[in-house]
Symmetry: C2
């Protein structure tokens, strides 16, 4: 169905659908007593055009294969999205009145609790990166012809994440991606930075190589023509820069400041708005037909077991390298695994996967936010994305990680180069807060392997686990502790040293585990016996083993970690035993580190064998 | 001094300076055994032009008033920066050979431990936002004529933070800001996304309204002319897009892949490179003169005491509003205070300050990364920046917060709308990991006031404290607990309820403090007596009071917080008493929350009075 083939009756029907969306948005936000009706009204014509003429989808089954995808980046316009799906027939319109209540999934901002939402939005500037992931999946992985539409606000277009997405979308020639910017001129607290300067928008988007079209966002015929042009445009994505009015259709709020995020007052003003809108309904409307997706058959690919790791006890390997080895092996046995990296693939070793599976590897350049958003899009398409970079640089994408956690996405994160043990590059490159930031998010599994075998098996476990997983990997080589048949599980730990006379339990992971083993040897020679635990799973944590060990070592634990003191491994252990009256001592990095040699830094910041020996003696005495 | 007035001898001298910078960069990285000499070589001509002809500064005093500022955004070219200052005479060249060692401040990437570094770089894409702050200070706050130069890499220009900075710099007409992109075509793991497509760079930068000049980055005459044109350009910033070769001047690495972040091998290859470069030195060179800054007199402004807060016990106020009231009052007594907000000033109440002090208030639009970077630049100029937005959205700028912590910057962060108590807007808007992320960074003070009086006084304390401070503020109104004369200090707490027979210590802050007081009343009526502590300072923490209280309440503590369970108030308390065998129970938000009414959510997620009562009974029984 195209603009040129649309009859006046059909255009009237679209207009009426848009008007209905406005009415429902006003009604539901007034009922809720909060929300953003004016932000819905500006975009109602765009959404009506998409949902009732442009997009191919099954209105009863939002997850139908090969359906066009719609991402509401301006998540505060959620009532508009909900009204569109109700209008399409997915659920009764009266449900819209449950907006923002505890027992309805029609939340203040959309989350994937709803079947038609791929990723949560509401933190602005995240929709376009997600759209990039959805479009990458169609063009390069599944090689199918669904299109992806992302509706953005104008205020959010300042967010840098959008420009990362634009650069990558252009480079990957995502002509199956179409963005729409609802340029309604008004932000939350003031007019937007560019207001209605449509040419300024065009200069920015076309400067990034996008096909940029300026349209009147309230002219349905123009909107439909622009979407047609977008569909015809090859080798680069298209953006519709839609000039709109906030609160469109309601005379007393239209284009007025101070109406952001405010429902119309219940009672007379709400009724007045609904009456005004109702008068805009046109008599002659033929219900539009929603185009259906072209049928494809999706067969879930066979996934084989991963071969055993090949590391031998006594050899050495960096855990980051073991990640690369495991990822490459995973690629062979699991066709759903895809990988993304931010121009450090030769340091994280994800390049092993990239070289073998170029169609499933996405070089994301130095743009971590878009990388995370795209991974979310790929995960929403059933892929298992492994996203790797230096652990420190995941801080760049923490908001995306937060929103992925809210979305209960299936992203696997691998952060390498953790801690002061990276050495000379200095603090900017050291991941020292990664456990704190990842473990804070509910539902994120946090793993911290110490040797190659464990890393390999935890990468496998991460791929098989449904939900977000973070794996912490180090830069230096370390000894192989475990043979190829050793088993590891999410929530497990390994007791590496124990005797009936242990005076203290030491809990460590990563490079500090080897420091703990050195300290063990040193104290053993002095006649002091310690228990040593490899805590390779931080979240969930092996509380049983920790408690049992502590109780067998006079209720004393010493934790050692190459991480800042707050929110790390030590705090996870503390939390696990908090209610039991166990005494826990923590060694961790407590200052901003300096450049230096890895061993020097490990000692200087008090997490090396010498510090462990001193602390242990002090605790035991 | 301009290109046109530069004699051939002077140009030769500049060329020789550039060559010396290359030689020193090779020599120091080879000595260190790590580093990025090829990234130094591509930018050596640009840096020589800036340091020895263009910039006005005092080579013996990098902090001299009104000096031009230089930000090395591509921080991995640190050896080049260090060589330039040594060449300028700040310290002996032989110090360069201490690069990357533990006892030298010539670290792998620059930090403000060095007097000529305003903010740490090394996490890419941060220099331009910092430069925006330095330029805002010159143009709008101090109203002086120094210029700011930011040297960026091409790989890092994909980072979205740059495009945020570009949008704001254009809007604020920062013609005192000049960016230089060292387009050397090669990233770490592969060629950059745009390689040497100089017109693609121009389209992007000029699309954002910048004056964009393409130059040969190895033609000193062309570079100098471009800097002259930049200085003449009014009302918008200028960027020099410099086409360069990575490893320039060393035949066997120049423009070659796989030389990122690698020193030349010590011995023959290093010597060969130095010999090659030495042969490029020209015989006729007149030492260039470094232009000095125009003299200005800077008098540190008088700072008056803050008047007492006006809240009365029994009234109510939202802590976010009390922040706005305090910030406005601070603005009057302290001319160094500036404020930035990201289009939520009417929700954070920073608009109170903005309306009264428009020259010191920077609307940063929805671009949190640039907001934090700019705040760092302003702090480097001696200002006291208060940066406010929803606590959740500080996750967007966590990498900037991390780098500010590394820089030991003087930024004050105020995060509002924390926790499930914001209600209907849902999880995307709830700050539930802010304590975890802030407290993880060494040196960051974390404050969590519960009432208006405390908030007001902690805003004052934050302004007076040298270093980063985070203040956590809530959305709902809450009762005023403290009279105007009550005193609060960083590291303090208040015992609000106590008796000789207390069975348990409850520690809370923010909305859960009031829930704890309700629980207290309820249990009191049932004959159970509790101690209640207002823990308004999370980092540092009042360990003495916590321990004393726990010991007086049978070694039992219950913490309650409107924050996720990991890394929050509870973990801070646990850590404080960890070694003492105290039993600590934590109530916190343990799932991704839903939309709903604030009170409903507080109860539903187990942090309300009812849950406290149940938990207390369970602990005591």
């Amino acid at each position: 169905m195209t603009a040129s083939t649309l009859s006046q009756e059909q255009l009237n029907a679209l207009h009426n659908a848009a008007t209905d969306l406005r009415i429902e948005s006003v009604r539901s936000t007034s009922a809720a007593g909060s929300g953003h009706p004016t932000s819905c009204c500006s975009a109602a014509d765009i959404v009506a055009a998409l949902f009732f003429s442009v997009m191919r989808y099954d209105p009863k089954n939002p997850k139908a294969p090969n359906s066009d995808r719609f991402v509401l980046s301006k998540g505060h316009a959620a009532p508009l999205l909900y009204a569109a799906w109700a209008e399409a027939g997915l659920f009764p319109k009266q449900d819209l009145l449950n907006l923002r209540t505890l027992h309805s999934d029609l939340e203040g901002h959309p989350t994937p609790r709803l079947p038609f939402v791929d990723m949560a939005t509401g933190s602005l500037g995240q929709g376009l990166p997600v759209g990039v992931g959805l479009a990458l999946n169609a063009k390069y992985v599944d090689k199918v012809d669904y299109r992806t539409y992302v509706l953005m606000g104008d205020g959010e277009s300042v967010e840098g994440s959008n420009w990362e997405a634009m650069e990558i979308a252009h480079q990957k020639q995502l002509d199956n991606l179409c963005a729409i910017v609802d340029v309604n001129r008004l932000g939350q607290s003031d007019p937007t930075i560019l207001q209605h300067d449509m040419e300024a928008y065009r200069a920015r988007w076309s400067g990034f190589g996008w096909h940029a079209l300026i349209v009147d966002g309230h002219d349905l015929s123009a909107i439909l023509s622009a979407f047609q042009e977008a569909a015809r445009t090859k080798h680069t994505p298209t953006v519709l820069l839609a000039k709109t009015l906030k609160g469109k259709g309601i005379s007393f709020v239209e284009d007025q400041p101070n109406w952001h995020g405010k429902p119309l007052p219940q009672g007379a003003e709400t009724q007045k708005a609904i009456d005004e809108l109702s008068r805009q309904l046109k008599p002659n409307g033929t219900a539009p037909k929603i185009p259906r997706p072209s049928p494809i058959s999706i067969t879930r690919p066979a996934i084989s077991p991963l071969p055993a790791p090949s590391y031998k006890i006594g050899e050495s390997a960096a855990t980051r390298e073991a990640f690369g080895v495991a990822l490459e092996a995973l690629g062979t046995v699991n066709p759903l695994v895809v990988a993304l990296d931010a121009d450090v693939k030769n340091s994280t070793y994800s390049e092993k996967f990239g070289k073998k599976f170029p169609d499933r590897f996405f070089e994301s350049f130095i743009a971590e936010q878009n990388m995370l958003g795209a991974a979310g899009g790929l995960a929403a398409c059933g892929k298992v994305p492994f996203v790797s970079t230096f652990a420190a640089f995941f801080t760049r994408a923490y908001d995306f990680i937060r929103m992925a956690a809210i979305s209960q996405s299936n992203i696997k994160l691998v952060g390498t180069h953790v801690g002061v043990s990276i050495g000379e590059d200095g603090p900017s490159q050291m991941g020292l807060e990664d456990i704190a930031m990842m473990a804070a998010q509910p539902g994120v599994t946090v793993l911290y392997p110490s040797d190659g075998t464990c890393t390999y098996r935890l990468v496998e476990a991460a791929a098989n686990h449904k939900g977000m997983v973070y794996i912490r990997a180090g830069r230096p080589k370390s000894p192989i502790l475990y043979g190829p048949d050793e088993r590891f599980q999410i929530g497990g730990s390994k007791v590496l040293r124990q005797s009936a006379t242990d005076a203290l339990t030491i809990v460590a992971a990563g490079i500090t585990l080897f420091e703990a083993l050195k300290a063990y040897d040193h104290l053993k020679a002095a006649g002091i016996s310690l228990r040593v635990i490899d805590l390779y799973s931080i979240v969930p944590i092996d509380r049983t083993t920790l408690l049992e060990s502590a109780r067998n070592t006079q209720n004393r634990i010493l934790t050692v970690e190459d991480h800042y003191a707050h929110g790390g491994l030590g705090d996870a252990v503390l939390d696990a035993v908090a209610t039991e009256g166990i005494k826990v001592h923590k060694l961790a990095v407590r200052a901003i580190p300096h450049s230096g040699k890895p061993d020097e830094l490990v000692n200087h910041y008090g997490i090396g064998a010498r510090s462990i020996v001193e602390a242990a003696k002090d605790i035991i005495k």
